[in-house]
């Protein structure tokens, strides 16, 4: 009887849960638009990375395997081109989005303030103080909304997409490109495209994954970018300057959010770990086979 009684009370609990208003224990960090941008970025980046490495490593069985997943050497190149153009479009949309996001009325202050992603001298201070904290020399810096490594990640992508996009377009349409630049410029474009792509992949798949998801305080995964919100108390600890500033200005209540449903969280974990697995697979395979290809 205990059994059935238990299941009854479970249903009761569910009903009660629906009635109760959700507790707002989280702080909103990203809007839906920003989360969609990041989701598209993940998807496009992984496809571009895989199809690009499939071409670069086509001499090895590892590269042939990836290429065959995308339908062979030629098809993976077509996919690389199409997704690359989609990524450029996404970047342009993001650039327009930024124009709407900038608070034009308070121009100098809004771009230099803590809500802005633009680099600021206080980031350099935060960087050195953080390193000093690694070695028990200083207390951890009081980060505001954006820490220096997050700003670096953002601007790395912001500079990477135009570099890869322009060289990529030149290389994808070489005959048309040779009417704009001399043909030998394609030799140069190829190497710029290669090094920037390898830099981007290595940075995302090694440093970004480790710093954001795998270090102890964020393990097993930081879902903030997927959920859009972070735990308020954790954020108060990690970004004290931001939460204090919001409390002082009385804007904290506007940014409070409730828990995401467990089903969505499972989906986010699944997606995040698949993305990480793909990235780590590309890094390990790429490094292991780097000696056996023609550069």
């Amino acid at each position: 009887m205990q059994f059935f009684g238990g299941s009854e009370s479970y249903l009761q609990k569910r009903r009660n849960l629906k009635v109760q208003p959700k507790k707002k224990t989280r702080i909103k960090r990203f809007t839906v638009t920003q989360r969609i941008f990041h989701l598209l970025l993940i998807l496009f980046f992984l496809i571009l990375g895989s199809t690009g490495l499939a071409r670069l490593y086509i001499e090895t069985s590892w590269g042939k395997g990836i290429a065959s997943f995308f339908g062979g050497y030629e098809t993976s190149f077509q996919i690389h081109k199409v997704v690359g153009i989609l990524m450029i479009c996404c970047f342009l949309v993001h650039a327009v989005y930024l124009l709407f996001k900038v608070v034009w009325k308070e121009l100098p202050r809004s771009l230099l303030g803590p809500e802005s992603l633009l680099p600021h001298p206080r980031d350099i201070k935060g960087f050195f103080q953080h390193i000093a904290w690694f070695f028990h020399i200083a207390i951890p810096p009081k980060f505001d909304r954006w820490s220096y490594w997050e700003k670096f990640d953002y601007w790395a992508v912001f500079w990477g997409i135009p570099i890869l996009g322009i060289t990529g377009l030149l290389l994808a349409y070489p005959v048309a490109a040779s009417r704009i630049i001399p043909g030998w410029g394609l030799n140069v474009a190829l190497w710029i495209h290669r090094i920037e792509a390898i830099l981007a992949m290595a940075h995302v798949f090694i440093i970004h994954f480790f710093v954001t998801h795998l270090r102890r305080h964020n393990f097993p995964m930081d879902l903030t970018m997927f959920e859009g919100s972070a735990d308020l108390e954790v954020t108060r600890h990690e970004r004290p300057a931001w939460v204090t500033r919001l409390e002082e200005s009385g804007k904290l209540n506007l940014l409070l959010a409730s828990e995401t449903s467990p089903r969505l969280r499972i989906l986010y974990y699944l997606f995040g770990y698949i993305a990480m697995a793909v990235g780590i697979y590309l890094v390990i395979g790429g490094l292991a086979n780097s000696g056996s290809i023609t550069w």
């Binding site: 005959v175 043909g183 190497w191 090094i195 710093v211 270090r215």
Partner: protein, 219 residues
């Protein structure tokens, strides 16, 4: 009458023997209306440079040596510059028994050969392979884009043909002289990439270690 016909025939015969035979694609390419004129954005004067050679330096050259012989490698044989011969492999012993890659191993390591699976002959043609600077060579820069590149890259112009199919290794110091733009672009990108990793890789490692031994403050 007979004399006129005879002299005319002799002239035509002599012209056929002494002048090079017509290449049909040459006519097509030099046409002022069609094909390359509409794609090419360089000078627009095709009639001139499609047919007449320019006073252009060979693409492949030895720094400081314009003609004659140059040292192939320190202490090794002196090699005659072969960029203007009818048969660039003229006089090489047992040439029939050699493969291209026996001597040109470096030239087999490029995107066209490795990725697109092209063979040497698909661009360089059959025997005798003329030197690239030879007047009538299809590889001569004055017509390479039409005779070679455009076989696959439809619409290729002279600018397109300046792409180096066998580029120098940008890593090497010698590239600074051969292809300075490639050299400096390569090393600029390498410096950016290296600086990123030199800073952020130890940064991530020390951060990870610090957190490994620091318990997260439970809210």
């Amino acid at each position: 009458m007979k004399k006129t016909v005879f002299s005319l025939a002799t002239t035509v015969l002599l012209a056929l023997i002494l002048l090079a035979s017509l290449a049909f694609s040459q006519e097509e390419v030099a046409s002022p209306i069609m094909r390359y004129k509409q794609y090419e954005a360089s000078t627009g004067y095709y009639e001139e440079y499609e047919v007449l050679p320019q006073r252009r330096r060979p693409i492949i050259s030895v720094p400081g040596v314009a003609r004659g012989v140059f040292p192939y490698s320190p202490g090794a044989a002196q090699v005659r510059i072969r960029t203007r011969l009818v048969d660039s492999h003229w006089g090489i012993k047992f040439y029939q028994n050699l493969r291209c890659r026996t001597c040109h191993m470096e030239q087999t390591r490029d995107i066209h050969t490795v990725r697109a699976n092209l063979t040497c002959r698909q661009c360089h043609g059959g025997e005798p392979i003329a030197s690239i600077q030879h007047y009538y060579s299809p590889m001569n820069p004055i017509r390479k884009h039409a005779y070679i590149c455009a076989k696959c890259h439809e619409g290729a112009g002279a600018s397109f043909a300046s792409y180096l199919v066998h580029p120098p290794n940008p890593f090497l110091a010698s590239t600074r002289k051969d292809f300075p733009v490639l050299f400096y672009a390569f090393w600029t990108m390498m410096v950016i990439a290296s600086v990123t990793f030199v800073i952020f890789l130890p940064h991530a490692v020390f951060w990870g270690l610090r957190e490994l031994f620091t318990k997260k403050e439970k809210p």
